[in-house]
């Protein structure tokens, strides 16, 4: 397999879907000539023209609402939301409108749209440009939520998203855009299905269940554990909705110990759902309490002296994993 960047993988996925289906188009702010501030979409307007790669005004609620209307009437919009933090601006159109059309109409309407946005702190972008808000949309029935963890995942999940007949929110990790990884050749089309978690490493002592940016942390933590003589299952959740409970539970039933990692704020975040399902459904298999690592419950601080510690990291994950494995967790 060739090696390309996450950013290229996203670009390819969109280009391939635009070529395949003329009803697919894309809009957002500075997506055409500028190719987004992250340059993820560079080149697309040259191939597909400004009728299909469309620069909008700075009107997130408006163009998300319009995407819902377009999706209801025969097209398949991909919406580029420049920062995940701007989700707050579009929640009404996304959650009151897009998410509910199928249900409220008794199945007569559908909204095949993709909202591409991002997550991730540690870029010194401060509180309004660093949030990881996947838990919010995952809470709303009618939306699907995908979180690619590598270039290959980014391509395969995005292509599936475009073909899904439901509104899908896909979060890309901004920190990963330049990361490289193996991706199948364009000829070998790969659609990664929703609702199937991906086991990246196999182990016996502990399960590490992670999303997006935290998959990398989990993988490195697993390596750290190997150095201590332990092995871990590493599971990439891939989609929060639908959630592949089975794969996660099977792993935990095997290992008896688990850490769940996600870059959103910890409280009322994605780790809570996964952890509480495990605690309920794998209760009799657990040898230690289920640990969650989310971001601190603080707005993301700007200062380099403050920011990094607010996000889960490898060292603390390894440390906690060892405590769990060695039975060193205090019994309150």
């Amino acid at each position: 397999m060739r090696t390309i960047t996450f950013s290229q993988a996203v670009n390819e996925a969109i280009a391939e879907e635009l070529r395949r289906d003329p009803t697919v188009f894309l809009w957002g702010e500075d997506v055409a000539e500028a190719g987004t501030p992250f340059k993820v979409l560079s080149g697309l307007v040259e191939e597909f023209g400004p009728e299909r790669i469309i620069d909008t005004p700075i009107s997130e609620p408006g163009f998300v609402g319009m995407a819902v209307g377009a999706a209801l009437t025969g097209t398949r919009p991909i919406v580029d939301l420049m920062f995940g933090d701007f989700l707050f601006l579009v929640m009404d159109q996304l959650c009151n409108q897009a998410a509910k059309q199928s249900y409220m109409s008794g199945g007569k309407l559908k909204v095949p749209m993709v909202l591409r946005t991002n997550l991730g702190a540690t870029r010194r972008s401060a509180a309004q440009h660093s949030q990881s808000l996947q838990a919010l949309v995952a809470h709303i029935p009618g939306l699907k939520v995908a979180l690619p963890s590598s270039p290959r995942e980014a391509k395969g999940l995005l292509k599936s998203a475009v073909r899904d007949d439901n509104p899908v929110v896909i979060f890309e990790d901004k920190l990963m855009y330049q990361a490289k990884g193996p991706v199948p050749e364009p000829e070998e089309e790969e659609l990664i299905p929703f609702g199937q978690a991906n086991r990246l490493q196999e182990g016996e002592d502990l399960s590490l269940v992670a999303t997006s940016s935290m998959v990398q942390v989990a993988e490195e933590a697993a390596e750290g554990l190997r150095a201590e003589g332990y092995s871990a299952d590493v599971i990439d959740v891939r989609t929060l909705v639908p959630l592949d409970e089975d794969t996660i539970l099977a792993s935990v039933r095997k290992t008896g110990r688990v850490i769940v990692l996600d870059e959103g704020h910890q409280s009322y975040g994605a780790t809570a759902e996964i952890a509480s399902r495990i605690a309920d459904k794998a209760f009799y298999h657990l040898d230690a309490p289920v640990t969650r690592f989310g971001a601190w419950d603080v707005p993301v601080p700007f200062s380099p002296a403050l920011e990094d510690q607010t996000v889960p990291d490898v060292a603390r994950t390894v440390e906690r994993a060892l405590q769990l494995i060695r039975g060193e967790v205090a019994r309150a």
Binding site: A70, T75, K108
Partner: protein, 346 residues
């Protein structure tokens, strides 16, 4: 409702107003008669819905559009099967005007399986995909994006279709309207903002909610805007025809300010209204500005129908509505398990 009022003697002013209106662009007598029927259907639908509520047979609340028939019908008569509409919480009129039938509408209001949305939407979310009605919306301003997006895809796909966004005067408070009007103007989208200015948002008069000028707002966003007497069916139809022609010709969006009035309260439970509007005002609109008898007069004067025929129309529609209510009351509910379906399209 209906036929009785139609044949009732309207006052001189009202009659004169009806005569003065712009003529309808080449519509046949039968088309005009059908437009009349549509208004009567709406009135009949609302009267029955209100009755269902008063008899505690209807779950939840609903918002009657009685008094606003001409805007719904006048606009929808300008459309064809390529076109889409989006509607509001006060949406029964739009639904009927766009071609929906009574049975599945009443079934929906009662939460029955045979409703347009299998009972899942109810009054505030009634949609009728086959007739191009993308649905009522319980978020004020919530469908402005949807309609504008539907206009985008009509243009993108080259269907020749037009999208109409019905909205109330209260929706002018919602910022998203200006965002999408801006894009509609920039991209010359075939969309019509049909603002039913019934002068109140819930219990508050528009003067307390709206600074500046409604028409100027649209114009400042590059949108053609026109004020229309929303009680005059022919005037609405003519303005809608112009707007549709502009849209189909690729000339872009139009904002129609349709001045109208709702006869009932904000919702069926809004009975004591004197703290926000006077009985006299209500009486004035009902007696002088009722779109159904106003248009009935036109039909009589033009010899398109006789008083007896109009009465017969009213009576036939009344019976039809009552029959549909009976049907809906008897119709089965969806099975409990249905609550799990349709969260996702598949």
């Amino acid at each position: 409702m209906t036929a009785r009022k139609t044949t009732r003697k309207t006052t001189k002013t009202a009659r004169k107003a009806a005569r003065k209106t712009v003529d309808s662009a080449g519509r046949t007598p039968e088309q005009l008669l059908e437009a009349y029927r549509q208004m009567v259907r709406i009135r009949a639908f609302e009267d029955n819905a209100n009755e269902l509520y008063l008899q505690a047979k209807m779950p939840g609340l609903t918002h009657m559009s009685s008094g606003q028939e001409a805007s719904a019908v006048g606009v929808c008569e300008a459309l064809d099967e390529r076109d889409k509409i989006t509607s509001t919480h006060r949406g029964h009129g739009h639904c009927v005007a766009r071609g929906a039938t009574f049975r599945p509408m009443f079934c929906e209001l009662l939460g029955k399986e045979e409703g347009y949305c299998h009972g899942k939407g109810g009054s505030m979310h009634i949609a009728d995909q086959e007739n191009g009605n993308l649905g009522a919306n319980a978020i004020v301003g919530g469908s402005t994006g949807i309609a504008t997006g539907a206009a985008f895809s009509a243009k993108y796909l080259g269907t020749g279709g037009v999208a109409v966004c019905f909205l109330g005067d209260g929706a002018l408070g919602q910022g998203i309207l200006y965002e999408v009007m801006n894009m509609a103007a920039l991209w010359k989208l075939p969309v019509i903002y049909a603002c039913e200015n019934n002068q109140y948002g819930e219990y508050t008069h528009i003067d307390e909610m709206l600074a500046g000028n409604m028409l100027e707002r649209a114009r400042a966003f590059g949108i053609e805007a026109e004020e229309v007497d929303g009680q005059d069916l022919l005037a609405v139809m003519a303005a809608a025809d112009r707007a549709v022609a502009r849209a189909r010709a690729g000339e872009g969006a139009t904002f129609l300010a349709l001045k109208t009035y709702r006869y009932f309260g904000h919702h069926v439970g809004d009975i004591n209204r004197s703290y926000y509007r006077t009985k006299e005002e209500e009486e004035h609109w009902k007696a002088e500005r009722d779109p159904i008898p106003l248009f009935g007069e036109v039909l009589l004067e033009r010899g398109i129908a006789t008083a007896e025929e109009l009465t017969a129309i009213g009576e036939a529609i009344s019976r039809e509505a009552e029959e549909a209510v009976e049907y809906a009351l008897e119709a089965p509910y969806p099975p409990a398990e249905a609550a799990r379906d349709h969260v996702y399209a598949s």
